[in-house]
């Protein structure tokens, strides 16, 4: 399948939006302006972009602690995201969730979650809902190589398999859980061996090549919409920042490894190609970049100028009416 120019530019734009947003957030985190723990998605943008651009608004996704990219790719509002990250009243969760718990149910983003592996069972519910609704909707769940070590992963593969759920598993294999190599902690070696054991359609791809991700996801989503049961996409990638953004935190990963992966930057490699193939010009790239920078700055201004919630607001939303 040859991708349309529009799709290629959309993929590029989405990745760049995530990158610029995350860069801005990182800058503010290191300046000490952001409370809590922030997990940066930089380096993994191709996955969120490649997958989510295949989804409709009605399709639902479940994300994890490193979730900003999924939000942006699914169409979330950067303003409300940034405000949430700052703990402002205008944020997606009125300041109650923060970076790790952004959700936008209106666009089918059912939320980021901070417990490793826990989004997986929740996503089976979203997929079952789609199946029961019978309108060809699907659900997608993003999770790391670390999540594949939790029992909930196994239970979810099994449930998705026996109920033939329209669930797209998107494993963002960035090769580490904090500082522990997946080579050490995953007995299967290849992650795909696990879903295969459950007769789940499986593919392992270069998660830094957005076109590959997009095409693989398109194929997977088409199968899912037909009701053929779950699909497992392993996307190999690498995170550029520390596990979470923090001066104090150690990064025990080999420096050369990081450098090698940086050379495979999902954005700059793709950009060069688009320019080489004349799909994009340097001028246009600059304009896209400028527009995104503006959006990010607007979002940041919005967050900064937004009020904090009132202390008593803490008492609301414990229960729904």
């Amino acid at each position: 399948m040859d991708l349309s120019k529009k799709t290629l530019i959309d993929l590029y734009t989405t990745m760049l939006a995530i990158r610029r947003f995350e860069e801005r957030v990182a800058q503010e985190v290191y300046a000490g302006n952001v409370p809590g723990f922030v997990h940066s998605y930089i380096g993994e943008e191709a996955i969120a972009a490649g997958v989510c651009l295949n989804l409709d608004r009605q399709d639902r996704i479940v994300s994890h602690h490193r979730g900003h990219g999924h939000c942006i790719a699914k169409g979330a509002d950067m303003k409300k995201m940034m405000a949430e990250i700052y703990g402002k009243k205008t944020g997606y969760c009125k300041g109650k969730g923060g970076s790790m718990h952004i959700a936008d149910f209106s666009i089918g983003m059912l939320g980021a979650d901070g417990i490793v592996g826990a989004g997986l069972p929740i996503a089976t519910g979203a997929a079952l809902a789609a199946k029961l609704e019978g309108k060809g909707k699907i659900a997608a769940v993003f999770f790391g190589d670390g999540a594949c070590q939790e029992g909930e992963f196994h239970e979810t593969l099994n449930l998705a398999s026996i109920w033939k759920l329209p669930l797209l598993f998107v494993c963002e294999n960035n090769h580490y859980g904090v500082n522990t190599s997946a080579k050490y902690s995953l007995g299967a070696g290849e992650i795909t061996r696990m879903p295969e054991a459950y007769h789940i359609a499986t593919r392992s791809i270069d998660g830094n090549d957005v076109e590959t991700v997009y095409q693989a996801a398109a194929e997977a989503v088409a199968q899912l919409r037909k009701g053929d049961g779950p699909y497992f996409l392993e996307c190999k990638t690498y995170r550029w920042h520390k596990h979470f953004l923090s001066e104090g935190l150690e990064d025990l990963r080999p420096k050369e490894e990081l450098e090698a992966w940086k050379r495979k930057c999902p954005i700059s490699v793709f950009e060069s190609r688009l320019i080489r193939e004349k799909i994009l010009t340097e001028g246009k790239a600059k304009r896209i970049n400028a527009r995104i920078m503006e959006m990010v700055e607007d979002a940041h201004d919005f967050a900064l100028s937004s009020p904090y919630p009132l202390p008593e607001d803490a008492l609301q939303d414990v229960y729904s009416a």
């Binding site: 718990h101 979203a126 109920w163």
Partner: protein, 317 residues
């Protein structure tokens, strides 16, 4: 009025509510045959033995606009699903700023008295009471279980129904016509003037037996069944204690950090109630030991009418 069992009443509640609302799903490791016959295998689902997965699934279903019932059977199996219940079901309404509703109902049996031994004989409701975001009901009669489960199935929040294992087969009057029982309304099972006995779950019956025995000794005990633990009918208990000046709390769960501790703390830290207290309140709870298997040991471990009488007389002195 017709009499049906506690479990039949519970099933009726689910049937009636599932008829009202087609966006409802029931999950359990065992086949719920009655329900499946009426509502089909799409909505009445048998799950693998993997509690965290189907409790998690209930949350996703809720996030997508469905209501669910997950029958976990014994509360001890709930420990396998603690992550989904406590880290997620309880918290996501809040941490997502109230964007979505999570109407999930979890049913679990609790209690001892059937030689189930340590693992299968637990009453862990206080743990869940410590986690805001959950509502917790403790139905003690066929009438109550139907009315409370129906209310639960219209509530927009996670509700946990703790049902005593030995009450499932109990018969009682249940009207044919529809009714609901509101959360947070205690039921005074017996009126009295000398001492307030708050009793939980199956202990309501032991407390009523004890009250009978106490009456024979000239002590008039008021027996209160809170019916729901979250929300808790603070007013009913405090009002009663202000009247009687004495409080005994009876619970089969282990004493330390159980619901009985909360009820005593709630009452004694109320200035009005504290002033009216004529004696130190007493707890009659399960001993702080795992439930033993052997019948004489088990009997020793959990409260009964005799122990309640003894403690109440202690409070009267």
């Amino acid at each position: 009025m017709r009499e049906i069992t506690y479990e039949q009443a519970a099933t009726e509640a689910i049937q009636e509510e599932f008829r009202r609302n087609p966006r409802t799903v029931h999950m359990s490791t065992d086949l719920a045959a009655d329900l499946q016959q009426e509502f089909g295998p799409d909505r009445i689902r048998v799950t693998p033995i993997a509690e965290n997965s189907f409790v998690g699934a209930s949350i996703g279903l809720a996030g997508a606009g469905f209501r669910t019932v997950s029958n976990l059977r014994m509360a001890t199996f709930g420990f396998v699903a603690m992550d989904q219940m406590m880290n997620h079901a309880a918290k996501i309404t809040y941490m997502f700023g109230g964007q979505a509703k999570f109407p999930v109902l979890y049913r679990m049996t609790v209690g001892a008295g059937f030689s189930g031994a340590a693992e299968h004989s637990i009453s862990p409701y206080s743990m869940f009471m410590n986690v805001p975001g959950l509502k917790i009901i403790l139905p003690t009669t066929p009438y109550d279980v139907k009315g409370l489960l129906k209310t639960a199935l219209r509530d927009n929040n996670p509700v946990i129904s703790f049902e005593h294992f030995l009450l499932g087969g109990m018969k009682g009057e249940v009207p044919e016509q529809e009714y609901l029982i509101p959360f947070g309304k205690a039921c005074i099972r017996r009126k009295g003037s000398d001492v307030t006995i708050v009793a939980l779950a199956k202990m309501v019956y032991s407390a009523l037996d004890a009250a009978e025995e106490l009456a024979a000794r000239g002590i008039s005990a008021e027996v209160i069944d809170p019916r729901t633990l979250v929300p808790f009918d603070r007013e009913a208990v405090i009002k009663s204690v202000k009247k009687t000046g004495r409080l005994v709390v009876v619970d089969e769960a282990c004493q330390t950090c159980g619901a009985a501790a909360e009820i005593i703390a709630m009452v004694t830290s109320d200035k009005g109630a504290f002033r009216k207290l004529k004696a130190a309140p007493a707890r009659v709870c399960g001993l702080d030991i795992p439930i033993p298997f052997s019948p004489p040991l088990e009997k020793f471990a959990i409260p009964d009418a005799e122990k309640i009488v003894k403690a109440t007389r202690g409070v009267m002195r």
